[in-house]
C-alpha cells in the first residue's frame, strides 16, 4: 500500500496518511447504539475508533461469527475469521448464523472496503475485465454480497479514477444496480448504499436517481480534485461542506490500535 502522507500533509496539520483519514472519517459516520457488520482493515479500525470516541455502545459483528468483541491494541486480526477477532466477544456463532443476522434485520450498517465502485454504488471484487476472460481474477465476494444486499452500507476506499468507474466490470455486491428502484425490483427491498468514504471526500446517493453525489470534501481537496479522480460525472454542490480534519486524539487512538501500520500505512 503506498502512503498518501506526503500529499495530505502539505495541506493540513496534524499529518496523517490517506488510510488514517479514511478510518477517522468513516468512524464519525457510525452512531452510538448501532450494530455494524465490519470487514477487516479500515472498517474494523474505524469501528473501534468510534467505540473509543463517540459510540461506546456500538456493537461490532465479524463475518467469522463474532458478536461484540474486544479487539486489543496491537493485535489486529488479519481476517475476520480468526481467533484474534473473537477475544472477549459476547457471543460466537457459526458463519451462517452471523450472516443471517443481516437477513433477519439485526444489522444497522454494513461497513467494508472496495476495489471498484460505480455511479450507482455497485461494488466489484471479483473480476477486472470481462468475467469470462478476466485480466485479474480477484478474491470474490466473501460476505460482501450478503452485507450489501441486506444492510445500509458504508464503503471506505481510495479515490482513484480506475476505482470509481461509470459501470463496474462485474456486480459482486449490489448497490442501487441501475439506479431508481432497480434495486428493489431485483428483490432487494432493504438496505442499500449509504455513504462512500474516500481520501478525498464523503459521497452519498441522490434520493430519486440513486446516482453518486458529493456530500463533503476533506480539508484541502477541491471540487476539481475529486472530479479529476472519478471516472464518471460526479456532481459537487456549490455549497459542499468541508469535513473537520482528523484530530490528534483520533489519530493517537488509531496509532495505538495499529502501531505497525498494518492497515494505516
Amino acid at each position: 500500500m503506498t502512503t498518501e502522507r506526503a500529499r495530505i500533509s502539505l495541506s493540513v496539520a496534524p499529518a496523517y496518511t490517506g488510510s488514517e483519514l479514511l478510518a477517522v472519517m468513516s468512524a464519525r459516520l457510525l452512531k452510538d447504539g448501532q450494530t455494524v457488520f465490519a470487514g477487516v482493515g479500515i472498517p474494523l479500525l474505524a469501528a473501534i475508533l468510534a467505540q473509543k470516541t463517540h459510540a461506546p455502545g456500538l456493537t461490532i459483528l465479524f463475518e467469522g461469527g463474532v458478536i461484540g468483541p474486544f479487539v486489543e491494541a496491537g493485535k489486529l486480526p488479519p481476517s475476520t475469521n480468526e481467533q484474534r477477532c473473537s477475544r472477549r466477544a459476547n457471543m460466537l456463532v457459526s458463519i451462517t448464523e452471523v450472516l443471517l443476522l443481516l437477513q433477519r434485520g439485526y444489522v444497522d450498517v454494513g461497513f467494508m472496503g472496495g476495489a471498484q465502485i460505480d455511479r450507482f454504488g455497485n461494488l466489484n471484487s471479483s473480476f477486472i475485465g470481462d468475467a469470462e476472460n478476466p485480466k485479474i481474477r480477484l478474491p470474490g465476494t466473501g460476505g460482501g454480497n450478503d452485507i450489501a444486499s441486506l444492510a445500509d452500507m458504508i464503503v471506505a476506499m481510495k479515490h482513484e479514477k480506475r476505482r470509481f468507474v461509470e459501470k463496474v466490470d462485474f456486480i459482486t455486491s449490489p448497490g442501487f444496480i441501475d439506479g431508481g428502484d432497480t434495486r428493489a425490483q431485483a428483490g432487494l427491498p432493504a438496505g442499500g448504499m449509504f455513504r462512500v468514504v474516500t481520501d478525498l471526500g464523503i459521497l452519498g446517493f441522490a434520493a430519486e436517481s440513486r446516482a453518486m453525489t458529493v456530500l463533503a470534501l476533506h480539508p484541502g481537496v477541491s471540487a476539481a480534485d475529486i472530479k479529476a479522480n472519478t471516472g464518471f460525472d460526479l456532481p459537487v454542490p456549490d455549497d459542499v461542506e468541508v469535513t473537520p480534519a482528523p484530530t490528534l486524539g483520533e489519530l493517537a487512538i488509531l496509532r495505538e490500535l495499529d502501531p505497525e501500520q498494518l492497515y494505516t500505512a
Partner: protein, 318 residues
C-alpha cells in the same frame, strides 16, 4: 449441477454403518476413503481450523479431480490447484488472506482457465450446506439477487414467495460426498467438541455423505458423555477419526495455536514471482519430501510452532 433425488440421498446415508464404533485410522487410510472425482467439503474458514493434514495426505496420495467446496479458501486452495487434486473450487472468497493480497497461484490457474473458481455469496455457501444438512433440496434466501455473482452460478433459482409475493432466491442443497473437518478433540467414535468459532462445520458434517475428522487429540467417550451438550459433531455422521497434533499448521486451531505467520509469509514469497514454479517447489519441500507429518512440522520449524502455540493459547488469558 444436479441435486440428487431424496431417495438417492437417503440410500447413501442408509448404507453407511452409523453405529457407535471405533473409527480411528491413519491419515493414509483416511485418504483412501476419498475417491477421484468426489465432491469434497473442507471445514474451517480461511486460515482457521483448516484440515491441513488431511489435505496434505490427499495431495500425497495423488487424488485427482475433486470438486472442492469451502466457506472461504486460503493457501490450501492454491495447493489443491497446483497439485492437480482439484480443478474446481466452489467458495465465496479465495486468496491467502487480506494482508497478503490476491493469491498469485489462484490467479495463475483461473486466469489461464486451467482451473475453475465458482463463486457464491458467503451466506449462500452456508445455506447450501444447511439445506444439505436438513435433507431438503434448497434454502430460500434474500441476497445474491441482482448481482453478477448470481448470473454466474449454476442452479440457484429466483421465485415469487407464495406467502408474501416477495422475490426470494432458492439456493440448491450441497451434499458433498466427503467432508474433512479438523477439531480440537473427539472420541474414537467421532463425537467431536469444537472450541471457539464453528464456521460452517456443523451443517457441513450433517450434509456430507461421509465425514473424516482429524483431531488434535482423541479423548475417551466417557469424557464426551460428561458434557453431551458440548458435542458439536455426532458420531453417527463420522466415518474416520485421525489424531494429528497441529493438524491445521500453518493455519490456526482455536485456543491451541494461531497461524504460523512467518511461514505464511514464506509461502507468499515463494509463490509471488513465478506462482507455478513456486507452488511446485513448496509442494516438493513441504508435501512430497517429508517422511511423515512430524517431518512436515519440522520443516516448518520448531521456533515457529512454539510461537504459534504461545499466541494461540493466549486467547483464554484474562
Amino acid at each position: 449441477m444436479t441435486i440428487p433425488s431424496y431417495l438417492e440421498l437417503r440410500r447413501k446415508t442408509r448404507e453407511r454403518d452409523r453405529s457407535l464404533r471405533d473409527k480411528v485410522m491413519s491419515l493414509e487410510e483416511a485418504a483412501a476413503l476419498v475417491a477421484d472425482g468426489d465432491s469434497l467439503a473442507i471445514g474451517g474458514c480461511t486460515a482457521s481450523r483448516t484440515p491441513m493434514a488431511m489435505i496434505w495426505a490427499l495431495i500425497r496420495a495423488g487424488r485427482r479431480d475433486l470438486e472442492v467446496s469451502r466457506s472461504i479458501v486460503s493457501t490450501e486452495g492454491d495447493l489443491l490447484y497446483a497439485s492437480g487434486v482439484s480443478r474446481h473450487i466452489i467458495t465465496s472468497w479465495f486468496s491467502q488472506g487480506i494482508v497478503w493480497g490476491v493469491s498469485k497461484v489462484m490467479r495463475a490457474y483461473t486466469e489461464t482457465r486451467r482451473a475453475r473458481f465458482e463463486e457464491w455469496s458467503h451466506m449462500a455457501m452456508g445455506l447450501r450446506y444447511r439445506a444439505g444438512a436438513m435433507g431438503v433440496p434448497f434454502m430460500p434466501m434474500r441476497s445474491m439477487l441482482g448481482s453478477g455473482v448470481l448470473d454466474r452460478t449454476e442452479g440457484a433459482k429466483a421465485m415469487e414467495c407464495p406467502f408474501t409475493g416477495e422475490t426470494l432466491l432458492l439456493v440448491p442443497a450441497l451434499n458433498p460426498e466427503v467432508a474433512i473437518i479438523h477439531v480440537q478433540r473427539c472420541d474414537a467414535y467421532g463425537n467431536a467438541q469444537i472450541d471457539g468459532l464453528t464456521f460452517m462445520d456443523i451443517d457441513m458434517a450433517m450434509a456430507a455423505n461421509k465425514v473424516i475428522l482429524t483431531t488434535e487429540r482423541i479423548v475417551s467417550n466417557e469424557q464426551i458423555r460428561r458434557h453431551p451438550d458440548q458435542t458439536k459433531i455426532g458420531f453417527f455422521t463420522v466415518d474416520a477419526v485421525v489424531e494429528v497434533p497441529f493438524g491445521s499448521a500453518p493455519h490456526e486451531c482455536y485456543g491451541l495455536y494461531e497461524p504460523f505467520y512467518s511461514h505464511m509469509d514464506l509461502y507468499a514469497q515463494m509463490t509471488s514471482k513465478d506462482p507455478d514454479m513456486g507452488a511446485q517447489a513448496y509442494l516438493d519441500r513441504f508435501y512430497h519430501e517429508p517422511k511423515n507429518w512430524a517431518d512436515y512440522l519440522g520443516r516448518i520449524g520448531m521456533a515457529e510452532l512454539l510461537d504459534a502455540q504461545r499466541r494461540g493459547s493466549g486467547i483464554y488469558d484474562d
